[in-house]
Protein backbone atom coordinates (compact mmCIF):
# COMPACT_ATOMS: atom_id res chain seq x y z
CA UNK A 1 0.00 0.00 0.00
CA UNK A 2 3.02 2.31 -0.37
CA UNK A 3 1.47 4.03 -3.39
CA UNK A 4 -1.40 5.48 -1.35
CA UNK A 5 -1.43 9.24 -1.40
CA UNK A 6 -1.98 10.50 2.11
CA UNK A 7 -0.76 13.41 4.15
CA UNK A 8 0.80 12.45 7.45
CA UNK A 9 0.04 15.24 9.88
CA UNK A 10 1.57 13.66 12.98
CA UNK A 11 2.73 10.13 13.82
CA UNK A 12 -0.85 9.15 14.64
CA UNK A 13 -2.74 11.49 12.34
CA UNK A 14 -3.23 11.04 8.60
CA UNK A 15 -5.39 12.76 6.03
CA UNK A 16 -6.79 11.37 2.78
CA UNK A 17 -8.23 13.57 0.06
CA UNK A 18 -10.80 11.61 -1.97
CA UNK A 19 -10.25 13.86 -4.98
CA UNK A 20 -6.68 12.46 -5.06
CA UNK A 21 -6.88 8.99 -3.50
CA UNK A 22 -9.44 6.42 -4.66
CA UNK A 23 -11.91 5.50 -1.90
CA UNK A 24 -11.08 1.81 -2.35
CA UNK A 25 -7.46 2.53 -1.40
CA UNK A 26 -8.56 4.44 1.69
CA UNK A 27 -10.90 1.64 2.78
CA UNK A 28 -8.21 -0.98 2.14
CA UNK A 29 -5.76 1.05 4.19
CA UNK A 30 -8.28 1.17 7.03
CA UNK A 31 -8.85 -2.60 6.75
CA UNK A 32 -5.28 -3.84 6.33
CA UNK A 33 -2.79 -1.32 7.63
CA UNK A 34 -4.08 -0.78 11.13
CA UNK A 35 -2.69 -3.18 13.71
CA UNK A 36 -4.15 -4.15 17.03
CA UNK A 37 -3.48 -1.49 19.60
CA UNK A 38 -3.24 1.29 17.04
CA UNK A 39 -5.16 4.33 18.02
CA UNK A 40 -4.87 6.41 14.92
CA UNK A 41 -6.75 9.46 13.80
CA UNK A 42 -7.68 9.46 10.11
CA UNK A 43 -9.23 12.41 8.27
CA UNK A 44 -11.13 12.10 4.99
CA UNK A 45 -11.47 15.26 2.93
CA UNK A 46 -13.85 15.89 0.00
CA UNK A 47 -16.13 12.87 0.45
CA UNK A 48 -18.48 14.47 -2.11
CA UNK A 49 -21.30 12.02 -1.43
CA UNK A 50 -19.30 8.87 -2.21
CA UNK A 51 -20.87 5.59 -1.09
CA UNK A 52 -19.40 3.18 1.46
CA UNK A 53 -16.83 5.46 3.09
CA UNK A 54 -15.15 3.78 6.10
CA UNK A 55 -17.23 0.61 5.91
CA UNK A 56 -16.27 -2.59 7.68
CA UNK A 57 -13.79 -1.07 10.13
CA UNK A 58 -12.45 -3.44 12.78
CA UNK A 59 -10.05 -1.32 14.87
CA UNK A 60 -10.37 1.37 17.54
CA UNK A 61 -9.44 4.07 15.03
CA UNK A 62 -11.08 7.50 14.74
CA UNK A 63 -12.15 8.52 11.23
CA UNK A 64 -13.40 12.05 10.60
CA UNK A 65 -15.20 12.66 7.31
CA UNK A 66 -15.30 16.34 6.39
CA UNK A 67 -18.34 16.89 4.15
CA UNK A 68 -21.40 14.99 2.95
CA UNK A 69 -21.12 11.19 2.67
CA UNK A 70 -23.22 8.90 0.48
CA UNK A 71 -24.87 5.56 1.17
CA UNK A 72 -23.73 3.08 3.86
CA UNK A 73 -21.20 5.39 5.53
CA UNK A 74 -19.49 3.51 8.39
CA UNK A 75 -21.58 0.43 7.64
CA UNK A 76 -20.77 -2.74 9.64
CA UNK A 77 -18.62 -0.68 12.00
CA UNK A 78 -16.75 -2.50 14.77
CA UNK A 79 -14.62 -0.76 17.44
CA UNK A 80 -14.06 2.42 15.38
CA UNK A 81 -15.33 5.94 15.97
CA UNK A 82 -16.53 7.58 12.75
CA UNK A 83 -17.56 11.24 12.74
CA UNK A 84 -19.25 12.76 9.67
CA UNK A 85 -19.08 16.56 9.55
CA UNK A 86 -21.98 16.72 7.12
CA UNK A 87 -24.98 14.65 6.09
CA UNK A 88 -25.17 10.99 5.11
CA UNK A 89 -27.23 9.05 2.58
CA UNK A 90 -29.14 5.82 3.06
CA UNK A 91 -27.96 3.20 5.57
CA UNK A 92 -25.42 4.99 7.76
CA UNK A 93 -23.91 2.58 10.33
CA UNK A 94 -26.11 -0.22 9.06
CA UNK A 95 -25.40 -3.47 10.88
CA UNK A 96 -22.94 -1.76 13.25
CA UNK A 97 -21.46 -4.21 15.78
CA UNK A 98 -19.73 -1.80 18.18
CA UNK A 99 -18.01 1.58 18.31
CA UNK A 100 -19.58 4.95 17.65
CA UNK A 101 -20.83 6.77 14.56
CA UNK A 102 -21.67 10.46 14.89
CA UNK A 103 -23.40 12.35 12.05
CA UNK A 104 -23.28 16.10 12.59
CA UNK A 105 -25.86 16.81 9.89
CA UNK A 106 -28.94 14.83 8.81
CA UNK A 107 -29.22 11.18 7.83
CA UNK A 108 -31.35 9.71 5.04
CA UNK A 109 -33.40 6.49 5.23
CA UNK A 110 -32.50 3.34 7.13
CA UNK A 111 -30.02 4.91 9.55
CA UNK A 112 -28.60 2.33 11.95
CA UNK A 113 -30.62 -0.49 10.37
CA UNK A 114 -30.03 -3.88 12.05
CA UNK A 115 -27.27 -2.48 14.30
CA UNK A 116 -26.20 -5.14 16.81
CA UNK A 117 -24.22 -2.84 19.07
CA UNK A 118 -22.44 0.49 19.32
CA UNK A 119 -23.91 3.99 19.36
CA UNK A 120 -25.22 5.97 16.40
CA UNK A 121 -25.70 9.69 17.02
CA UNK A 122 -27.43 11.91 14.46
CA UNK A 123 -27.48 15.59 15.39
CA UNK A 124 -30.08 16.51 12.75
CA UNK A 125 -33.11 14.64 11.44
CA UNK A 126 -33.14 11.01 10.36
CA UNK A 127 -35.23 9.80 7.40
CA UNK A 128 -37.66 6.93 7.22
CA UNK A 129 -37.04 3.49 8.74
CA UNK A 130 -34.41 4.72 11.20
CA UNK A 131 -33.35 1.80 13.40
CA UNK A 132 -35.37 -0.73 11.42
CA UNK A 133 -34.77 -4.23 12.83
CA UNK A 134 -32.44 -2.85 15.49
CA UNK A 135 -30.69 -5.80 17.16
CA UNK A 136 -28.99 -4.28 20.19
CA UNK A 137 -27.38 -1.00 19.11
CA UNK A 138 -28.28 2.40 20.53
CA UNK A 139 -29.44 5.35 18.42
CA UNK A 140 -29.77 8.97 19.54
CA UNK A 141 -31.40 11.41 17.09
CA UNK A 142 -31.20 15.12 17.91
CA UNK A 143 -33.97 15.99 15.47
CA UNK A 144 -36.98 14.02 14.24
CA UNK A 145 -37.24 10.60 12.61
CA UNK A 146 -39.34 9.60 9.59
CA UNK A 147 -42.11 7.04 9.31
CA UNK A 148 -41.68 3.34 10.15
CA UNK A 149 -38.74 3.99 12.45
CA UNK A 150 -37.79 1.13 14.80
CA UNK A 151 -39.93 -1.24 12.71
CA UNK A 152 -39.49 -4.77 14.15
CA UNK A 153 -36.69 -3.54 16.41
CA UNK A 154 -35.57 -6.46 18.53
CA UNK A 155 -33.13 -5.06 21.09
CA UNK A 156 -31.36 -1.81 21.87
CA UNK A 157 -32.51 1.71 22.68
CA UNK A 158 -33.58 4.61 20.50
CA UNK A 159 -33.74 8.16 21.84
CA UNK A 160 -35.61 10.67 19.66
CA UNK A 161 -35.30 14.31 20.75
CA UNK A 162 -37.80 15.59 18.18
CA UNK A 163 -40.91 14.01 16.67
CA UNK A 164 -41.54 10.83 14.68
CA UNK A 165 -43.52 10.08 11.52
CA UNK A 166 -46.18 7.42 11.12
CA UNK A 167 -46.12 3.91 12.59
CA UNK A 168 -43.32 4.42 15.10
CA UNK A 169 -42.22 1.09 16.57
CA UNK A 170 -44.47 -1.05 14.40
CA UNK A 171 -44.21 -4.73 15.40
CA UNK A 172 -41.64 -3.95 18.08
CA UNK A 173 -39.90 -6.76 19.92
CA UNK A 174 -37.78 -5.88 22.95
CA UNK A 175 -36.14 -2.64 21.80
CA UNK A 176 -37.27 0.47 23.72
CA UNK A 177 -37.94 3.89 22.23
CA UNK A 178 -37.75 7.17 24.15
CA UNK A 179 -39.29 10.20 22.47
CA UNK A 180 -39.32 13.84 23.55
CA UNK A 181 -41.80 15.06 20.94
CA UNK A 182 -44.76 13.23 19.47
CA UNK A 183 -45.07 10.44 16.95
CA UNK A 184 -47.57 11.11 14.15
CA UNK A 185 -48.85 7.62 14.93
CA UNK A 186 -47.71 4.49 16.74
CA UNK A 187 -47.30 1.26 14.81
CA UNK A 188 -49.12 -1.98 15.56
CA UNK A 189 -48.31 -3.35 19.04
CA UNK A 190 -46.31 -0.26 20.12
CA UNK A 191 -47.59 1.54 23.21
CA UNK A 192 -46.63 4.29 25.61
CA UNK A 193 -45.52 3.02 29.00
CA UNK A 194 -44.67 4.83 32.24
CA UNK A 195 -41.05 5.94 32.67
CA UNK A 196 -39.19 4.28 35.55
CA UNK A 197 -36.08 5.53 37.33
CA UNK A 198 -34.06 3.11 35.19
CA UNK A 199 -35.53 4.68 32.06
CA UNK A 200 -34.59 8.20 33.19
CA UNK A 201 -31.05 6.98 33.89
CA UNK A 202 -30.84 5.26 30.49
CA UNK A 203 -31.99 8.38 28.64
CA UNK A 204 -29.64 10.57 30.69
CA UNK A 205 -26.66 8.31 29.94
CA UNK A 206 -27.40 8.10 26.22
CA UNK A 207 -27.93 11.87 25.91
CA UNK A 208 -24.64 12.44 27.71
CA UNK A 209 -22.79 10.06 25.37
CA UNK A 210 -24.40 11.86 22.42
CA UNK A 211 -23.44 15.27 23.78
CA UNK A 212 -27.05 16.43 23.90
CA UNK A 213 -28.52 18.49 26.65
CA UNK A 214 -32.17 17.67 27.35
CA UNK A 215 -33.98 16.85 30.57
CA UNK A 216 -34.57 13.07 30.68
CA UNK A 217 -37.88 13.90 32.41
CA UNK A 218 -39.15 15.32 29.10
CA UNK A 219 -39.00 11.89 27.40
CA UNK A 220 -41.73 9.28 27.08
CA UNK A 221 -41.22 5.51 26.78
CA UNK A 222 -42.60 3.40 23.95
CA UNK A 223 -42.29 -0.38 24.03
CA UNK A 224 -44.00 -3.48 22.74
CA UNK A 225 -47.38 -4.58 24.08
CA UNK A 226 -46.24 -8.08 23.01
CA UNK A 227 -49.66 -8.90 21.65
CA UNK A 228 -48.16 -9.94 18.31
CA UNK A 229 -45.72 -12.41 19.85
CA UNK A 230 -48.18 -15.23 19.39
CA UNK A 231 -50.52 -15.73 16.47
CA UNK A 232 -54.08 -14.91 17.33
CA UNK A 233 -56.47 -16.46 14.85
CA UNK A 234 -59.34 -14.39 16.26
CA UNK A 235 -57.66 -11.03 15.65
CA UNK A 236 -59.31 -10.84 12.22
CA UNK A 237 -56.36 -8.82 10.87
CA UNK A 238 -57.12 -5.98 13.29
CA UNK A 239 -54.19 -4.92 15.45
Amino acid sequence: MERIEAERITAERMSFDLTKTPLRDVNQFLHRNLKDGDDRHIEVQNPDGAHSIAVGLNHPVTVEIHGHAGYYAAGMNKHATVVVHGSVGTGVAENMMSGKVHVKGFASNGAGATAHGGLLVIDGDAGLRCGISLKGGDIVVGGSVGSFSAFMAQAGRMVICGNAGDALGDSLYEAVIYIRGEPKSLGADARFEPMTDDDYKTVGDLLKQAGMDHDPKSFKRIASARSLYHWNADANQEY
Partner: protein, 302 residues
Amino acid sequence: MCGIVGLLVKKPALRQQLGELMVPMLIGMTERGPDSAGLAVFAEPLEGSGRKLSLYSGLTDDGADFNWHGLTHALKEHLDVNAQIEVKHNHAVLSFEVSPDMVKRWLHENHPKLHVLSTGQAMDLYKDIGTPAQVAERYGFNAITGSHLVGHTRMATESAVTPDRAHPFTAGEDFCLVHNGSLSNPNSLRRMLEPRGIHFDTDNDTEAACRFLEWRLREGDDLETALQKGFEELDGFFTFLMGTPDKLALIRDPFACKPAVVAETDDYVAIASEFRSLAHLPGVKNAYVFEPAPEEMYVWNA
Protein backbone atom coordinates in the same frame (compact mmCIF):
# COMPACT_ATOMS: atom_id res chain seq x y z
CA MET B 1 -32.88 2.71 -10.56
CA CYS B 2 -32.64 6.04 -12.31
CA GLY B 3 -31.06 9.41 -11.64
CA ILE B 4 -32.80 12.75 -11.47
CA VAL B 5 -31.25 16.19 -11.65
CA GLY B 6 -32.76 19.67 -11.66
CA LEU B 7 -31.25 23.12 -11.65
CA LEU B 8 -32.83 26.54 -11.33
CA VAL B 9 -30.60 29.64 -11.42
CA LYS B 10 -31.77 32.62 -9.44
CA LYS B 11 -29.63 35.28 -11.11
CA PRO B 12 -30.16 36.15 -14.79
CA ALA B 13 -26.40 36.30 -15.34
CA LEU B 14 -26.13 32.60 -14.51
CA ARG B 15 -28.53 31.58 -17.30
CA GLN B 16 -25.58 31.51 -19.70
CA GLN B 17 -23.92 28.85 -17.51
CA LEU B 18 -26.96 26.61 -17.00
CA GLY B 19 -25.68 23.79 -19.22
CA GLU B 20 -22.12 24.02 -17.99
CA LEU B 21 -23.27 23.69 -14.36
CA MET B 22 -25.69 20.87 -15.17
CA VAL B 23 -23.56 18.49 -17.27
CA PRO B 24 -21.46 17.24 -14.31
CA MET B 25 -24.72 16.75 -12.39
CA LEU B 26 -26.08 14.54 -15.18
CA ILE B 27 -22.81 12.62 -15.57
CA GLY B 28 -22.69 12.18 -11.77
CA MET B 29 -25.85 10.08 -12.05
CA THR B 30 -24.36 7.64 -14.61
CA GLU B 31 -24.21 4.72 -12.15
CA ARG B 32 -27.89 5.19 -11.39
CA GLY B 33 -28.86 5.45 -15.07
CA PRO B 34 -26.40 4.37 -17.75
CA ASP B 35 -28.77 3.41 -20.58
CA SER B 36 -30.43 6.69 -21.64
CA ALA B 37 -30.39 10.36 -20.70
CA GLY B 38 -32.34 13.48 -21.41
CA LEU B 39 -33.23 16.95 -20.31
CA ALA B 40 -35.83 19.66 -20.76
CA VAL B 41 -34.70 23.27 -20.55
CA PHE B 42 -36.83 26.37 -20.09
CA ALA B 43 -35.80 29.73 -21.53
CA GLU B 44 -37.51 32.98 -22.59
CA PRO B 45 -40.80 31.97 -24.23
CA LEU B 46 -41.56 32.70 -27.87
CA GLU B 47 -43.83 35.70 -28.26
CA GLY B 48 -47.46 35.76 -29.36
CA SER B 49 -48.57 32.71 -31.30
CA GLY B 50 -45.00 31.41 -31.67
CA ARG B 51 -44.65 27.71 -30.93
CA LYS B 52 -41.77 25.27 -31.11
CA LEU B 53 -41.48 21.53 -31.40
CA SER B 54 -38.49 19.48 -30.31
CA LEU B 55 -38.14 16.70 -32.89
CA TYR B 56 -36.12 13.48 -32.89
CA SER B 57 -35.16 11.76 -36.14
CA GLY B 58 -33.29 8.80 -34.63
CA LEU B 59 -36.24 6.47 -35.27
CA THR B 60 -36.58 7.42 -38.96
CA ASP B 61 -34.83 5.46 -41.71
CA ASP B 62 -32.38 8.32 -42.25
CA GLY B 63 -31.52 8.74 -38.56
CA ALA B 64 -29.13 11.61 -38.01
CA ASP B 65 -28.99 12.17 -41.80
CA PHE B 66 -32.63 13.20 -41.82
CA ASN B 67 -33.26 16.01 -44.31
CA TRP B 68 -34.29 18.72 -41.86
CA HIS B 69 -34.12 21.56 -44.36
CA GLY B 70 -36.22 19.54 -46.78
CA LEU B 71 -38.77 19.39 -43.97
CA THR B 72 -39.00 23.18 -43.64
CA HIS B 73 -39.33 23.51 -47.43
CA ALA B 74 -42.13 20.94 -47.45
CA LEU B 75 -43.93 22.75 -44.62
CA LYS B 76 -43.79 25.96 -46.67
CA GLU B 77 -45.00 24.16 -49.80
CA HIS B 78 -47.83 22.12 -48.23
CA LEU B 79 -49.02 24.23 -45.30
CA ASP B 80 -47.65 27.67 -46.22
CA VAL B 81 -45.86 27.69 -42.87
CA ASN B 82 -42.67 29.68 -42.43
CA ALA B 83 -40.70 27.56 -40.00
CA GLN B 84 -37.23 28.07 -38.56
CA ILE B 85 -35.14 25.09 -37.64
CA GLU B 86 -32.13 24.57 -35.39
CA VAL B 87 -30.50 21.19 -35.93
CA LYS B 88 -28.25 19.18 -33.62
CA HIS B 89 -27.44 15.72 -34.97
CA ASN B 90 -30.70 13.71 -34.87
CA HIS B 91 -32.53 16.51 -33.05
CA ALA B 92 -34.12 19.74 -34.20
CA VAL B 93 -36.14 22.57 -32.74
CA LEU B 94 -38.74 23.68 -35.26
CA SER B 95 -40.40 27.03 -34.57
CA PHE B 96 -43.36 28.67 -36.36
CA GLU B 97 -46.37 30.89 -35.75
CA VAL B 98 -49.32 28.63 -36.50
CA SER B 99 -51.31 26.03 -34.62
CA PRO B 100 -48.93 23.30 -33.45
CA ASP B 101 -51.71 20.72 -33.91
CA MET B 102 -51.82 21.43 -37.64
CA VAL B 103 -48.04 21.00 -37.96
CA LYS B 104 -48.02 17.85 -35.82
CA ARG B 105 -50.84 16.32 -37.85
CA TRP B 106 -48.88 16.99 -41.06
CA LEU B 107 -45.71 15.54 -39.53
CA HIS B 108 -47.58 12.45 -38.40
CA GLU B 109 -49.03 11.90 -41.88
CA ASN B 110 -45.85 12.60 -43.81
CA HIS B 111 -43.09 11.53 -41.41
CA PRO B 112 -44.71 9.00 -39.09
CA LYS B 113 -41.37 7.90 -37.60
CA LEU B 114 -40.29 11.43 -36.76
CA HIS B 115 -40.84 11.65 -33.00
CA VAL B 116 -42.26 14.85 -31.53
CA LEU B 117 -40.45 15.21 -28.19
CA SER B 118 -42.23 18.31 -26.95
CA THR B 119 -44.48 21.23 -27.85
CA GLY B 120 -44.50 24.69 -26.34
CA GLN B 121 -43.23 28.23 -26.23
CA ALA B 122 -40.50 28.00 -23.59
CA MET B 123 -39.26 24.41 -23.42
CA ASP B 124 -36.76 22.44 -25.51
CA LEU B 125 -36.47 18.73 -24.86
CA TYR B 126 -33.68 16.29 -25.66
CA LYS B 127 -33.47 12.57 -24.95
CA ASP B 128 -31.72 9.60 -26.46
CA ILE B 129 -30.19 6.26 -25.59
CA GLY B 130 -26.52 6.20 -24.52
CA THR B 131 -24.60 7.12 -21.40
CA PRO B 132 -25.26 10.57 -19.92
CA ALA B 133 -21.81 11.70 -21.14
CA GLN B 134 -22.54 10.49 -24.69
CA VAL B 135 -25.96 12.14 -24.81
CA ALA B 136 -24.58 15.39 -23.33
CA GLU B 137 -21.83 15.41 -25.97
CA ARG B 138 -24.25 14.55 -28.82
CA TYR B 139 -26.43 17.58 -28.16
CA GLY B 140 -23.88 20.01 -26.71
CA PHE B 141 -25.59 20.21 -23.33
CA ASN B 142 -22.63 22.26 -22.05
CA ALA B 143 -23.72 25.23 -24.14
CA ILE B 144 -27.39 25.13 -23.12
CA THR B 145 -28.75 28.34 -21.63
CA GLY B 146 -31.96 29.10 -19.78
CA SER B 147 -33.50 29.68 -16.37
CA HIS B 148 -34.16 26.12 -15.23
CA LEU B 149 -34.07 22.53 -16.38
CA VAL B 150 -34.85 18.97 -15.43
CA GLY B 151 -32.65 16.06 -16.43
CA HIS B 152 -32.73 12.30 -16.11
CA THR B 153 -30.46 9.29 -16.44
CA ARG B 154 -32.28 6.02 -17.00
CA MET B 155 -31.82 2.43 -15.89
CA ALA B 156 -34.92 0.89 -17.45
CA THR B 157 -37.13 -1.39 -15.40
CA GLU B 158 -40.71 -0.96 -16.66
CA SER B 159 -40.33 -0.68 -20.43
CA ALA B 160 -37.72 -1.15 -23.16
CA VAL B 161 -34.57 0.93 -23.68
CA THR B 162 -35.59 3.12 -26.62
CA PRO B 163 -35.26 6.88 -27.19
CA ASP B 164 -39.01 7.50 -26.91
CA ARG B 165 -39.17 5.72 -23.55
CA ALA B 166 -36.31 7.80 -22.11
CA HIS B 167 -37.17 10.74 -19.87
CA PRO B 168 -38.24 13.55 -19.64
CA PHE B 169 -41.79 12.80 -20.66
CA THR B 170 -44.03 15.61 -21.75
CA ALA B 171 -47.70 16.24 -22.33
CA GLY B 172 -49.60 19.27 -23.58
CA GLU B 173 -47.40 22.36 -23.87
CA ASP B 174 -44.37 23.34 -21.79
CA PHE B 175 -44.81 20.64 -19.15
CA CYS B 176 -42.35 17.86 -18.47
CA LEU B 177 -41.72 15.22 -15.85
CA VAL B 178 -38.87 12.89 -14.92
CA HIS B 179 -39.30 9.89 -12.68
CA ASN B 180 -37.17 7.67 -10.49
CA GLY B 181 -39.17 4.65 -9.43
CA SER B 182 -41.95 2.49 -10.81
CA LEU B 183 -45.72 2.84 -10.77
CA SER B 184 -47.99 -0.08 -10.04
CA ASN B 185 -51.17 1.36 -11.58
CA PRO B 186 -50.11 2.95 -14.90
CA ASN B 187 -52.57 0.81 -16.86
CA SER B 188 -55.58 1.83 -14.81
CA LEU B 189 -54.55 5.48 -15.24
CA ARG B 190 -54.36 4.85 -18.97
CA ARG B 191 -57.79 3.25 -19.01
CA MET B 192 -59.12 6.31 -17.21
CA LEU B 193 -57.40 8.85 -19.50
CA GLU B 194 -57.71 7.28 -22.96
CA PRO B 195 -61.54 7.51 -23.12
CA ARG B 196 -61.06 11.24 -22.43
CA GLY B 197 -59.21 11.51 -25.74
CA ILE B 198 -55.72 11.50 -24.24
CA HIS B 199 -53.28 9.75 -26.56
CA PHE B 200 -50.24 7.82 -25.32
CA ASP B 201 -46.98 7.53 -27.29
CA THR B 202 -45.52 4.56 -25.38
CA ASP B 203 -46.29 1.80 -22.86
CA ASN B 204 -44.10 3.50 -20.24
CA ASP B 205 -45.40 3.91 -16.67
CA THR B 206 -43.95 7.41 -16.31
CA GLU B 207 -45.89 8.60 -19.34
CA ALA B 208 -49.12 7.74 -17.48
CA ALA B 209 -48.12 9.96 -14.54
CA CYS B 210 -47.06 12.76 -16.86
CA ARG B 211 -50.32 12.69 -18.84
CA PHE B 212 -52.40 12.41 -15.66
CA LEU B 213 -50.83 15.52 -14.11
CA GLU B 214 -50.94 17.52 -17.35
CA TRP B 215 -54.63 16.56 -17.73
CA ARG B 216 -55.33 17.92 -14.24
CA LEU B 217 -53.49 21.16 -15.05
CA ARG B 218 -55.46 21.50 -18.30
CA GLU B 219 -58.69 20.89 -16.38
CA GLY B 220 -57.89 24.00 -14.35
CA ASP B 221 -56.05 22.67 -11.29
CA ASP B 222 -53.10 24.72 -10.16
CA LEU B 223 -49.84 22.82 -9.81
CA GLU B 224 -50.30 22.17 -6.08
CA THR B 225 -53.85 20.82 -6.55
CA ALA B 226 -52.74 18.63 -9.45
CA LEU B 227 -49.89 17.20 -7.35
CA GLN B 228 -52.28 16.51 -4.46
CA LYS B 229 -54.49 14.54 -6.87
CA GLY B 230 -51.32 12.78 -7.99
CA PHE B 231 -50.69 11.62 -4.42
CA GLU B 232 -54.22 10.25 -4.34
CA GLU B 233 -54.20 8.50 -7.74
CA LEU B 234 -50.61 7.41 -8.40
CA ASP B 235 -49.64 4.17 -6.71
CA GLY B 236 -46.05 2.99 -6.54
CA PHE B 237 -42.61 4.36 -5.94
CA PHE B 238 -41.68 7.74 -7.23
CA THR B 239 -39.57 10.77 -6.95
CA PHE B 240 -40.99 13.10 -9.61
CA LEU B 241 -39.37 16.30 -10.76
CA MET B 242 -41.52 18.49 -13.00
CA GLY B 243 -40.89 21.63 -15.00
CA THR B 244 -43.23 24.39 -16.20
CA PRO B 245 -42.21 27.74 -17.74
CA ASP B 246 -41.93 29.35 -14.31
CA LYS B 247 -41.58 26.49 -11.82
CA LEU B 248 -39.72 23.38 -10.78
CA ALA B 249 -41.70 20.98 -8.57
CA LEU B 250 -40.64 17.87 -6.67
CA ILE B 251 -42.63 15.17 -4.89
CA ARG B 252 -41.71 11.84 -3.30
CA ASP B 253 -43.98 8.89 -2.55
CA PRO B 254 -45.16 8.37 1.05
CA PHE B 255 -42.54 5.65 1.65
CA ALA B 256 -39.68 7.79 0.26
CA CYS B 257 -38.50 4.74 -1.63
CA LYS B 258 -36.51 6.78 -4.11
CA PRO B 259 -33.94 9.33 -3.03
CA ALA B 260 -33.65 13.08 -3.51
CA VAL B 261 -31.43 15.78 -2.07
CA VAL B 262 -31.56 19.56 -2.56
CA ALA B 263 -28.82 22.18 -2.28
CA GLU B 264 -29.82 25.83 -2.23
CA THR B 265 -27.66 28.96 -2.32
CA ASP B 266 -28.33 32.60 -3.23
CA ASP B 267 -27.43 31.64 -6.80
CA TYR B 268 -29.31 28.39 -7.45
CA VAL B 269 -31.55 25.55 -6.35
CA ALA B 270 -30.05 22.22 -7.38
CA ILE B 271 -31.85 18.90 -7.02
CA ALA B 272 -30.42 15.43 -7.52
CA SER B 273 -31.06 11.84 -6.55
CA GLU B 274 -27.81 11.89 -4.58
CA PHE B 275 -25.33 14.44 -3.28
CA ARG B 276 -22.68 12.98 -5.62
CA SER B 277 -24.27 15.02 -8.41
CA LEU B 278 -24.19 18.27 -6.44
CA ALA B 279 -20.66 18.04 -5.05
CA HIS B 280 -19.03 20.00 -7.90
CA LEU B 281 -21.40 22.99 -7.79
CA PRO B 282 -19.81 26.33 -6.85
CA GLY B 283 -20.44 27.25 -3.23
CA VAL B 284 -22.09 23.91 -2.43
CA LYS B 285 -19.98 23.45 0.69
CA ASN B 286 -21.84 26.38 2.24
CA ALA B 287 -25.20 25.61 0.63
CA TYR B 288 -28.33 24.74 2.59
CA VAL B 289 -28.56 21.00 1.92
CA PHE B 290 -31.68 19.02 2.85
CA GLU B 291 -33.60 15.89 2.00
CA PRO B 292 -37.16 16.54 0.77
CA ALA B 293 -39.73 14.80 2.96
CA PRO B 294 -42.10 12.16 1.57
CA GLU B 295 -45.59 13.25 0.44
CA GLU B 296 -44.64 16.94 0.60
CA MET B 297 -44.67 19.33 -2.34
CA TYR B 298 -41.60 21.38 -3.09
CA VAL B 299 -42.12 24.12 -5.66
CA TRP B 300 -39.45 26.60 -6.70
CA ASN B 301 -40.20 29.65 -8.84
CA ALA B 302 -37.95 30.59 -11.74
